[in-house]
Point group: C2
């Protein structure tokens, strides 16, 4: 471990075990526009699953549907193993607050990552080394302060004039925890929602925005990831379309050594 | 409508309404290796949601997790509206067979597609016209016979020697129903799983394969799609990585006129 426990991220995504009912609290340290940073919420759900006594195998896919604004304070996680086979598990998680109101709905697949033929078709994105880039600090929600973002390409220019023509939504950047923390599955889950809204880049302005559905696929076994022993990833994100109040995002998270660790996609609401 | 009802696809994805419990049957006409074609299963789930009396808005995102082999015959769909806001609905659907054994778990988001700023960043893939390409007929499961596939790029060469080096997994093709049927949201859902396994392309051979989790985002309102009045789409699919028994796929479905209608991604098991 690079830091003493507990890291702020581990505090923020802490959950207390139940049988099917787990409990947690939102963290003021990972706060976004009007609620918790979605990546922290997703990582909290993943933590409950990884820590679950019935869990077998490694995270393969996690989909998180953000149903409603999550209020500051306590929440319950209703964790249910829907189906287990010899090598895969299918989970469903409902995050509720107050009067059993569902605020987040998630499904997850865990799998035994058995050895197989391996082929990485995607090309590692070339990038200026992390150390040679100045950290980005122009957006200051509390959650962005917990990360060390270093733009390789596509640094947004907010605060000036709105772009007359749509700008390229592509971003390439390094991302690590501000207080270094070894990258694990929870990091990958959280970082896969740590891109700024693509619509901000395309329009060069901040507009009302919220992720609606997020899916991340993990392309590494947990022990392979641990063996990488890294504290940051090189990440890319792009968008294909913004239309009728919704836009997409797809992204990749790479180890500095050139392994594709996770891919992610989301659809998000925007008002513009 | 291009054909008289009922089209075989509508027969195959038919469901009978219940309150929270809907019923359906697998179709021998859309059969894959060891169970129903996943696209037909996904479209059946989407149909139950679209036809649901409480449904409001258009499909925005559908995630389908294939938990177990679906047996030939009857199934139940347990359809639950988890959360509804002013402009979005969050659904959860469990497909069960026999003794309430969950075979498929799905979540869906429906949304009012309000007018907004619109920008299509992705480029329409150039393609030889549909009419100038010979239909592909070399893979003959019953479901593939229901579609008219015309390869623009990446036609697979199965049946010869396994590729010594990994081949490009990219595919571009036209896809329509063999008996023409106007493209609707159900078509897009089904066609988003109608690509052959990327691993087949990369290895140039058929290997044991199964989609584990599939997510499709819809980038068109239903009435816009109806106004397109088309019976086929231009589709692309690619993969980034095959590792430890799982590989990804991402795809795009385009109208012939150049509008991006849907994007899709999946993670699939393979044995190789």
């Amino acid at each position: 471990m690079l830091t003493k426990s507990p890291h702020l991220f581990d505090e923020a995504t802490r959950v207390s075990a139940g049988d099917s009912r787990w409990v947690g609290r939102t963290s003021p340290d990972y706060w976004a526009f009007v609620g918790p940073f979605g990546g922290a919420t997703a990582a909290t759900i993943l933590r409950a699953l990884i820590d679950h006594p019935q869990r077998a195998g490694d995270p393969l896919a996690l989909t998180v549907n953000f149903c409603a604004v999550i209020a500051e304070g306590a929440f319950d996680l209703d964790v249910r193993l829907v189906k287990a086979n010899r090598s895969t598990q299918h989970w469903c998680v409902e995050m509720t607050q107050g009067n059993d109101d569902v605020v987040t709905l998630a499904t997850a697949v865990f799998a035994e990552r058995r050895p197989s033929w391996s082929h990485q078709q995607a090309q590692f994105p070339q990038a200026t080394p992390f150390e040679q880039i100045i950290p980005y600090s122009k957006v200051t929600m509390t959650w962005t302060k917990q990360y060390d973002f270093r733009f390789v390409e596509g640094e947004p220019k907010f605060g000036g004039a709105t772009a007359a023509e749509p700008q390229d939504a592509f971003t390439k950047w390094w991302i690590g925890d501000k207080v270094p923390r070894k990258i694990d599955m929870l990091s990958l889950m959280s970082m896969s929602d740590a891109f700024f809204g693509r619509v901000f880049h395309a329009r060069q302005e901040l507009v009302p925005f919220g992720t609606v559905s997020l899916t991340t696929y993990f392309h590494t076994a947990a022990e392979e990831l641990a063996a990488e022993d890294i504290s940051r990833v090189l990440a890319t994100a792009d968008a294909k379309i913004f239309h009728r109040s919704y836009g997409d995002q797809s992204g990749e998270l790479w180890s500095p050594g050139g392994r594709l660790l996770a891919t992610t996609q989301q659809i998000a609401y925007f008002k513009a």
